[in-house]
Symmetry: D2
Subunit: 146 residues, 4 copies
């Protein structure tokens, strides 16, 4: 039996404009990395978020929280691990662990975060998420809990 | 007796690159607006954050949380209200209310947020915040509680 | 006779996330400041760019060039001077001078830039710009040449 | 004889915050993609730009020009082709072609660009680029001309 990805992992490299004069990544950019994390998790559920949006389901962030443990630096290789934490008919919560990949050692945890997204129509009205999508998210959640 | 600003208010206009294809402001940019809010609050305490940093105190965000009530749109006039919520020797927590200014009506609340910052030396080691700064923040806090 | 603004001037303060680890403003952000410059120039012509877009005229950048003379730094007060350089039925070219405002001295030139914008329908098809808008731009151009 | 890469190619996926309400990528972000392009080209010359900077050579953009042929969209797979166009002792010019990768078809050209960078010390004084770096860039240039 194939299991959906429990923790979806994606890697990226820190870009120069993501740094600030402190020499670290500016704290707001981690939210964009969380976005990349859930985008790639969603892609494994059978349809990309881009398609979901074209079909009329927009996912807007309604809550976000981040804890910063250590700073990312320019050119670091970053790992974003994303998992589904809670699924309702109109909202989904993702949890993220963002780490620095260190050759020959354990990844170093930089940020842990959580975002809740609410499904909207193109007009901005809350709506139920499509069934296939809720099922995919629940499958991912169940696999994670197993 | 002059009171320090209890809620510091700053206004800004939404920039085109802050919008995304959903037609709203991308959720990460509100963190940059919170940054502007606390920067202007800090300026009223006698020294700018730029000076604070040149003198060896860096303030790095250690925790952030945001609740999104309604979306900001391109060219909206935005108000950021910032207040000091908690002050310790090495950390300070700010609370923010971000609203849309609507002519002839009450501002519309868009986002409420909270960030905790930790004082660091230039090497990234935690340090006590300068006395004048802690006192300024505490004055602002006390005035707010009165 | 009221003359349209020849060089429209707008001021802004450098934001922390606009800096990079070199300690300067990242070079791409000046394009966003040019955008602010032309947005405010356009506002003086009777309708905001936001309204123009809602009425079906999108202005997309087709060419951009920038020369960087000196770097902007965090918390600098920046002046963006914008003028209309050329107007055709479907395109308009703006020229910009971006300077640092220095108290008690001449502003220091940081960047000179030029962008050409092409008018598009919402589908992305090139279109003529609205008459009032072309006339406003030509008025600004003529006043500048006088 | 091994030849250095003549045109260095790197691919990336368009991120949601890179879009704007027009539904396209905001024009300033292409400069960040050019940055990624030359960073990866530089990496093939034996040392990363991050190392170059740690060793005291900063490369600051002194000129940039971009021509926008067609817009990138969210989730597009983007190819950045970078080549060295001119090398002097203190400056280097890179040329870029940014395309959309289209399955089963030729890539579609979106933007062509050019940036000149000047070598600076950590204080911002112009300096000669390190010999190994000039030689690497010249090798790449020569290979491209062959």
């Amino acid at each position: 039996m194939t299991e959906p990805a429990v923790r979806h992992t994606v890697e990226l490299r820190v870009r120069y404009p993501e740094t600030d004069q402190m020499g670290f990544v500016y704290h707001a950019h981690y939210l964009a990395w969380c976005d990349i994390g859930r985008t790639e998790l969603i892609r494994t559920l059978g349809r990309s978020y881009a398609e979901l949006e074209r079909e009329g389901t927009l996912l807007a962030v309604s809550d976000a929280s981040l804890r910063y443990h250590a700073p990312a630096r320019y050119d670091d290789l970053i790992r974003v691990e994303t998992r589904v934490e809670e699924v309702r008919s109109r909202t989904v919560t993702f949890a993220y662990v963002i780490s620095r990949v260190v050759e020959g050692a354990e990844p170093e945890r930089l940020v842990s975060a959580r975002t809740t997204l609410i499904a909207l129509t193109r007009d901005g009205t809350p709506r139920r998420m499509p069934d296939f999508f809720v099922e995919g998210l629940r499958g991912s959640l169940a696999a994670g809990a197993a």
